[in-house]
Amino acid sequence: MAEEQKKGEIKKRRHATEAAGKIGPMVKESIGGTVKAREEGKSIAYAFIVCSYDEIIRAMDIVPVWTENYAGICGAKRDAERFLEKAESLNFSRSLCTYALCGLGFDQWREELGKMPPDSPWGGQAKPDFMLSSGQILCDPRNKWYQAVQQYMPDVPIYNVGLPWPLYEDDIEVAEVEGYYIKYIVEELRGLVKFLEKHTGRKMDWDRLSELVDLGERTWNLIWETYELRRAVPTPMGTGDAMNTMVPMVFMLGTQEGYDFFLDLNKELKEKIARKEGVVKDEKYRLLWGGGLPSWFALTDFNYFNSKGAVFPAETTYRMIEPIYRLNIPDTNDPLERLAYRWVRYWTYWYDKAKKRPGSEPDVERLIQYIEDYKIDGIVMHEAFSCRTFHLGLIWQLNQLRKIYKPIPVLVLGKDGGKTKGKRELPSLILESDIIDMSSYSEVDTRNRIDAFIETLEQSKKNKA
């Protein structure tokens, strides 16, 4: 199956927005920048996105190496296989997170050679001065990856930040437990600052941190406002592009460059809407990317959807923001406390809504909201075999959604033989592959499934009462 596509046979994805087209060079510069920063003696940290420490590391002039991002780049360039095989040769199972396997294979190889592995994508990923883990409550690899890497670079210290949030419970209100969650996260972030001060020899500038947290919050608001523009019919931007614009959202939070990117995108989308210019000329089906990370080596699948008149005005993946005003963050002068509240309230935002609908659940409630806001006709998810974090619970979410939410009016045959009005659920599709391991992917099979799904959507439209 993987024989269908090999390294070097990369088809470039068409972007709907100019902004998305700028991302590739930005990422390339960012990765090259880490190698340069290493040469210049700047402090470098291995880091994970969406860990609430973006503004902290920016305030201390630490250069982040987003290790998942580098694995994604290797995947997008269809050059992850040799690093995955390297990790496998070290006795890491191929069933583990392939981002982590790619990183482990790369790092071990770099340390073994004493230089970057040959022809490393975009010059390779620089060795860090320290690594910032975070298991949170959703990702075992983020808890274990850097500890495993330490076997190959034992001189690089780790700080593992505790960033939990309360899971949704029927009998417990978030307000009952939030106090000790916030207290803990603030202590963990304070511990992180101390760790960084120790290893960089520099002191935190707290005023600067406050300014960057302000900037981060403004960026969240701007992103939300910008993404909401995608409600327009035809939609001016799809999920394919959002898989690019996630870069300034989660890799550049707390930077002016990240904020400015969304100003440009906002302007571009408004102009497109004014011109009624959509992702496709004839928009037939509006789909929600309802879960799962994409196959980075097969982003052209989004273009394939587009070729059938299907667009994705919204996605739950990498929409890691809510407008700050909705989170009701209490007034505080402590920037760490603001970060902690932003964190917990982001993850628990949908809880109240879920409690109001019997049988619902926050993830399901979010799907319903997006279905309504973005006038969605069908849902597509992706199950990446190597990642339990974002890919467990998708089947159940769809099952639950079908049970509690049937938005399509149809005429159904009654017992007396006459037709009565009824409601049907939205069509859905779960694609199966991986984030960067191409051995799990077949373009032919994937596209056959997309074709069948499009037929279902067409049928669903015809049957609409």
Binding site: L138, K144, N160, V177, Y184, G191, R388, H391
Partner: protein, 387 residues
């Protein structure tokens, strides 16, 4: 074999084969049964609330079918099996469920369990990933939340005295379980690893006082054994997560080895650490579950300058066991899709190799058919040890 011996063996077999039968009886007598998964749920709190804790067990002989209609196949196969048999109604006597933040496979499926089993009570115990000061304080607060939640369901308060008494009962249980291991120290061991696994598994399906009585009777009978059924053979240790079906251990022993000790969840990992007494009982429980249980899901901060020191700090308990039980080799038995253990395989191998212990690393899928396919590799490993 005398009658008493035959009696205890049939009790072991009965509890093991008819796992859950006693819980069903108790349910019929009006008790409430609270299920849990994994070693990280503080069962003392469930017992102190007046409920019967019941550890959900999977079944390597039962193909996963119904479970796959709700859950992705990329999850831990052990958890999937537990879910599958639960969904099929094998444990239809349950009143509630408590899951811990053990790993992604459990944490990410909490809602699926909760909604599809439709139980009257459910709770998720959120363990942090580190055990340093603030994490311990956080976990203590989290245990208070769990206590309040289960009190609400029980419609009664859990007094400190209730907890102290329950902790004592569980400590007693763990001491007895530990004593069972003594019968494996001789060469050849007096009791097989297969038998011990059945006893320990069975013990987790019983209310704690009954489990203590059961272990007592087993120990009493074992004391009489002067010569076991085992022959001199390579002495192996099995390291991994939860092994709750005897098939794998039996396969090793049938291949010509004695499994004399383990580092498994239903084994030394869970049964050996006891809860401190003489301090606040909730503090003591927080320490046991977050710090004393050495599970890879809890990140241990690096110790020492040299990497070897860190390995020793993380896996020294395994080294000590291998020494105490005169181990000749180790089987690292890891389930597919297990990120917490999977990322530690090279480090664990490096540590065990530093002790000059041969290691066989096996990845498996928690099914009888996949276990059977491991026979040749186990035999080759034993031949290598015996050379």
């Amino acid at each position: 074999m005398n009658n008493q011996n035959s009696n205890i063996l049939s009790r072991i077999e009965d509890h093991y084969q008819n796992y859950g039968a006693r819980a069903r009886e108790l349910k019929n007598e009006g008790n409430k049964i609270i299920a849990y998964l994994c070693s990280l749920v503080p069962v003392e709190i469930i017992s102190a609330a007046g409920f019967v804790p019941f550890r959900i067990r999977g079944d390597v002989n039962e193909p996963i079918t119904k479970g796959d209609t709700q859950l992705e196949t990329i999850a831990c196969p052990f958890m999937r099996s537990c879910y599958d048999v639960s969904l099929k109604g094998r444990y239809d006597f349950l009143d509630g469920l408590v899951l811990p933040h053990a790993c992604d496979s459990i944490a990410r499926t909490y809602s699926v369990w909760k909604y599809t089993l439709g139980l009257d009570y459910s709770h998720f115990v959120n363990l942090p990933h580190t055990s340093r000061g603030p994490s311990m304080d956080f976990f203590r607060a989290e245990l208070d939340t769990f206590k309040k939640s289960i009190e609400k369901f029980a419609k009664r308060k859990i007094l400190d005295d209730d907890l102290v008494k329950t902790i004592h009962l569980y400590n007693e249980n763990r001491a007895k379980a530990k004593a069972l291991y003594e019968f494996r120290k001789s060469d050849p061991p007096l009791v097989s690893g297969t038998e011990i696994l059945k006893i320990l598994t069975a013990g987790m399906s019983l209310p704690i006082a009954e489990s203590n009585d059961f272990f007592n009777d087993v120990l009493e009978e074992f004391e009489k054994i002067k010569e076991g059924p085992q022959k001199k053979a390579p002495r192996l240790m099995v390291v991994g997560a939860t092994v709750d079906n005897m098939d794998f251990i039996k396969l090793i022993e049938d291949s010509g080895a004695n499994v004399v000790v383990d580092s498994l969840c239903i084994g030394t990992r869970d049964y050996w650490p006891i809860t401190e007494t003489g301090i606040d009982p909730m503090d003591a429980l927080a320490r046991r579950y977050l710090d004393k249980i050495n599970c890879p899901r809890t990140y241990r901060e690096k110790v020492g300058e040299e990497y070897e020191e860190d390995l020793k700090a993380r896996f020294g308990d395994i080294g000590a066991l291998s020494k105490d039980f005169g181990v000749d080799g180790v089987i690292l038995y890891i389930y597919k899709y297990c990120d917490p253990f999977g990322f530690e395989v090279p480090a664990r191998k490096a540590y065990l190799n530093s002790l000059n212990l041969p290691v066989l690393y096996l990845e498996d899928e928690y099914s009888a058919s996949s276990i059977g396919r491991l026979r040749t590799r186990i035999q080759a490993f034993l031949e290598m040890i015996e050379e």
